[in-house]
Amino acid sequence: MSYEITLMTTMAISVLFALSLNFITGFCGQISLGHAAFLGAGAYTSAMLSKADVPFLFTIPAAAICAAMLGAIIGLASLRVRHDFLAITTMGVGFLFVGIIRQQDFFGGEIGIAGIPSSGFGKGGFMLICIALALTFAAFSLYVRRSWMGFVFKSIADNEDVTRVLGIDVSRYKLIAFIIGTGTAGVAGALYAHHFRFVGPDSFGFVESISVLAMVIVGGIGSVWGVIFAAALLSVLPMLVQFIDDYKLLFYSGLLFAMMRFSPDGIAGLCTRLFSSIPRRVPDNGGNNR
């Protein structure tokens, strides 16, 4: 069972993390290529507090606040740039985060922080906490989607300038999306730290940021259910396809490419087309039947 618990926990954390990016990128349309930095901010906060004997549950809000504060700063800066400039700026933030963490002995430098105390809830208990938090945020996401805030997000994602001309304070909304999204990534980070019991700079780099963006886009940008499914699947896919060994990453990237090529609106779009009455060529999504 233990192995399944580990997988489920990994899935739940990935789902939470992916949903946090979905809030920014999917809902509000702000592409981020550096989201792992906020996962890292949360993870480091939680790890360091835990090592200072702060109980695990208290480190979660602390991680959220720390990541959200960083997110607010980055969000303010990001208001100045748009579209592809924003994408590359956020990518830069990711590199900067890792670059700074790497050089500071305070954060454990290159070596990272090991020996993070366990959550104290046992493996099963910890898994339940992760799942509960992921589901809570999923429910929150679904709710926000229906609220006026979600309505405005949709409008901003669609066309920022038009939204502004409709009398809406676009910057404020974007900032809120950033703060909620990065704060949630911080929570995911706290869980990450207590799951792997080890954090290091390489865990929060560009590759991680790209993976989470891939989860959001493969799921179907903005679609909560799609993102949940994709994050759960992609986070454990490397485990599930161990048997193809040498071709694992090739398979993974090939799947990603095929998804973009044949169903750019992700799994969510694929499902919509599958279940809509219009018959249409349905691309194969790699046959991930388990």
Partner: protein, 250 residues
């Protein structure tokens, strides 16, 4: 007659070139003013100064007596401006109805955090339905903009601007790109809106329609005010004729 908009001595330079130079413009409540001028006259620039996309080097803009020169675009909108843009920009992921409904909900979107706690959209949709009916789009409210012809989208722009309940409606070339028939019918709509009490500043190239519906004209050329007054008087002004015919105008 209360003054709605006052553009006072506004100058905009891009690099060394004057786009708008010492321009004055006043609009009173209930007016429909046609804003014309040849290409490069600085019409769009002035419009952008009013909406706050371009900051003037000198001069002020007042809306209902309040200086809005330093305010952000969205605050000007909330102060009573609305804009229908030259290039139609519908929100493509939203139905026509929701395109208008989001503008109707400006009370609900004023405070970002509070907007999270509100989900009810029925009254805004009802209002949006009325507005779309008013511009003649009641039969396509649930369609996505992507499938609509240009004429419909132009009307959508107008409906969306109206949804903001503006004191002053800015229309930037709403007739451009439309067939003669479509243009005439949209022009009729604009005239009707004005007759219902809506103050409108209409930038337009289509002189025929402008002259038909606008009692007052404002003409700009090379960034300078050229004429302002009753339509027939302005059109008989030799300076204006020169500017349009392009003869001997320096």
């Amino acid at each position: 007659m209360t003054e709605i908009l006052h553009v006072r001595d506004v100058t905009v330079r891009f690099g060394g070139v004057y786009a708008v130079q010492n321009v004055d413009l006043r609009i009173n409540n209930g007016e429909l003013i046609g804003f014309i001028g040849p290409n490069g006259a600085g019409k769009t620039t002035l419009m952008r100064v009013i909406t706050g996309i371009v900051q003037p080097q000198s001069g002020r803009v007042f809306l209902q007596g309040v200086d809005i020169t330093d305010k952000a675009t969205h605050l000007r909108i909330r102060a009573g401006l609305a804009l229908a843009q030259q290039i139609v920009q519908p929100l493509r992921a939203l139905t026509l109805l929701d395109n208008v409904a989001i503008a109707c909900g400006s009370d609900k979107t004023r405070h970002a955090l509070k907007s999270m706690w509100v989900t009810d959209i029925r009254s805004e949709r009802a209002q949006a339905r009325e507005l779309l009916a008013r511009v003649g789009l009641s039969h396509v409210v649930d369609e996505l903009p992507g499938t609509m012809p240009l004429g419909y989208l132009k009307r959508l722009e107008v409906a969306r601007a109206l949804a903001l309940n503006p004191r002053l409606l800015l229309l930037d070339e709403p007739l451009a790109g439309l067939s003669q028939k479509e243009a005439a019918s949209l022009a009729d709509l604009i005239a009707t809106l004005n007759a219902d009490g809506q103050t409108i500043l209409l930038i337009e190239h289509n002189l025929r329609e402008v002259m038909r519906i606008c009692p007052t004209l404002y003409v700009q050329d090379n960034g300078k005010s050229l004429a302002f007054g009753k339509t027939d008087q302005v059109m008989s002004d030799p300076n204006v004729r020169n500017a349009y015919l392009g003869v001997g105008h320096a």
